[in-house]
Symmetry: C2
Subunit: 342 residues, 2 copies
């Protein structure tokens, strides 16, 4: 039997996630310098509502959205009940903050973040993560992002990062392309005190293997709340320095066209595979808020492949495959000829 959450669990989760929306929006608006977030609050007929904030046409961000929502319902969708059959027939509550940023400059990566908390009768769980999708290869950006998130995870428990990093590579995977969405980051779901770190779909996958090596992790509501807090607050330090380093780099039509093309992969992932998007559409969520993750302009090109030896090829071959960003010395050798290390 799962330990009950604290009596003020919902208000604490709400405060954490709304606070995260506030601090992220403030940080991003300061970084952009010109664009600002327009806010729309909305109510969901079946229960709950949210606060969507969107920046369009900023200096740094072509489009960015940071969405907070808190929704309730009578029956969770089958995709979730498969994982938590005890929640069947229970009224559920879910709150989350999610964010996707589409920068203008192709040298600045797209980034996504989502932290969420669920309760449904006797069960509750936390989920979340953040992942980075570069359009051009810079090894140091992938490393900085991972290093910062690892620091946040390690501060709560050292077993988290290796599992959540691997799980992120598994989750943000475009099966039909044989590509990860980008350089990953961390991803976790269904975290409760059962001691099971990995609850993904692939029992033979590498995340399951890393999870079983980690042994049981002492987990309770407070620790998982602390994890969401630490990782959420690590977002600005994980991403802002990358933007500052890249957003003034000169680029031309070639880089813009490649960025628009790669944005197509983002659309493919979000519409075909993304659990959050599918959950939102299945539970009659607010379509505009759910699909604010889609890029403002996108290109598809039949039969495109990057010129061998180009930076675009390096991006495709190295930065859309799972890598040990923090430790593999061979990555430096692959990136050096393209000035793609720092």
């Amino acid at each position: 039997m799962l330990q009950a959450p604290p009596p003020d669990s919902r208000s604490r989760a709400r405060a954490l996630l709304m606070g995260l929306q506030d601090s992220i929006c403030a940080g991003l608006a300061a970084l952009d310098g010109e664009g600002s977030f327009a806010e729309e609050s909305w109510v969901r007929p079946e229960g709950g509502g949210g606060r969507s904030r969107v920046m369009k046409g900023g200096r740094v961000f072509e489009q960015g959205g940071v969405n907070f929502s808190e929704v309730e319902g009578d029956q969770l969708p089958p995709s979730i009940l498969n994982q938590r059959p005890e929640a069947a027939g229970q009224r559920w509550f879910a709150t989350g903050t999610s964010m996707v940023l589409h920068p203008r400059n192709p040298f600045v990566p797209t980034v996504h973040l989502n932290y969420r908390y669920f309760e449904a009768g006797p069960v509750w769980w936390f989920g979340g993560g953040a992942d980075l999708t570069p359009y051009y290869p810079f090894l140091e950006d992938a490393r900085h992002f991972h290093r910062t998130l690892k620091g946040a995870c390690d501060a709560v428990h050292p077993a988290y990062y290796p599992v959540f990093k691997t799980w992120c590579d598994e989750y943000f995977f475009l099966k039909h392309r044989g590509e990860t969405r980008g350089v990953g980051g961390i991803f976790y779901d269904y975290q409760d005190p059962s001691g099971t770190l990995y609850t993904g779909q692939d029992p033979s996958g590498p995340a399951a293997a890393v999870s079983s090596q980690s042994g049981a992790v002492a987990q309770n509501w407070e620790q998982l709340f602390a994890l969401a807090s630490a990782c959420g607050n690590a977002f600005l330090p994980s991403y802002v320095p990358i933007v500052e380093k890249r957003h003034d780099l000169a680029y031309g039509d070639r880089e813009r066209q490649f960025q628009l093309y790669r944005r197509g992969r983002y659309v493919e992932f979000n519409l075909v595979f993304d659990r959050g998007t599918i959950f939102g559409l299945q539970t009659n969520g607010r379509t505009e808020s759910i699909l604010m993750s889609l890029p403002p302009l996108v290109r598809w090109e039949y039969g495109y492949s990057a010129e061998p030896g180009s930076r675009e090829a390096l991006l495709t071959e190295l930065f859309t495959r799972p890598q040990n960003w923090l430790e593999d010395p061979a990555l430096v050798e692959r990136c050096r000829p393209h000035q793609a290390v720092d």
Copy 2:
């Protein structure tokens, strides 16, 4: 027990569908006048292959693809076995021709066509259809398209068009937007001599009601082959006159931007709902050929809604809702103020 197909069923279906690809490509290339189709043949490791033909950067067509494929496998995906449990464990064969055209001029509608034939052990069936997605409202275009397809259906059996027209509206429906993809056309699936015209997902839907009113339709392999042939051959006469009428109309940035925005709905439908796309990705199909249906350039805009009273609003309110295009006189009154009748 289902009547066995003729001994040369596969070769006849193949010849029909390859011939359809040939005649459509020839007609479209002549219509475009500048663009031509580049062909790639491909082999699928699990069995079968295909012939993809793509036109990029034509005068009329910004992008168009006409794909023939013939594939085999050992186990159909669950989405199909739900409808045809007798096919479980049977080696299957599927052949089809599909086409999507994305014209350059926003006054020319996008169009899609697909005709396919399946065999799996004791069962076999035909499916297919064609549907039109305008970006600007012209009542006569919707009528011409429906009138032509109705003629093709009626020549085989008068019960077909009312069911397949309604089924098309049901199938090409974006639930999260409350919109049909466009003005529809015809759609049918799982057609065999069982006498069940409608085999869709919605037993309480209008297509089921129309189907039950139609009574049993004498069906056999030859009749269904004739249906695919008649409808397939009706494509050029259903679409070419629309292109000829619209493709020289002057347009500006407003119309282009609306076209790019509406193309986003096409992507949403194809990646979230389309059975053919999902079948292809589930059966390890050729990704580039499956996704050739995606538009070359697409735009999303958070919170967009068309100016009230504009042609863009008329398109959204009238041309993305199921309509009785051929008979409803009220449509003329709605379209007249916008010069959107002829």
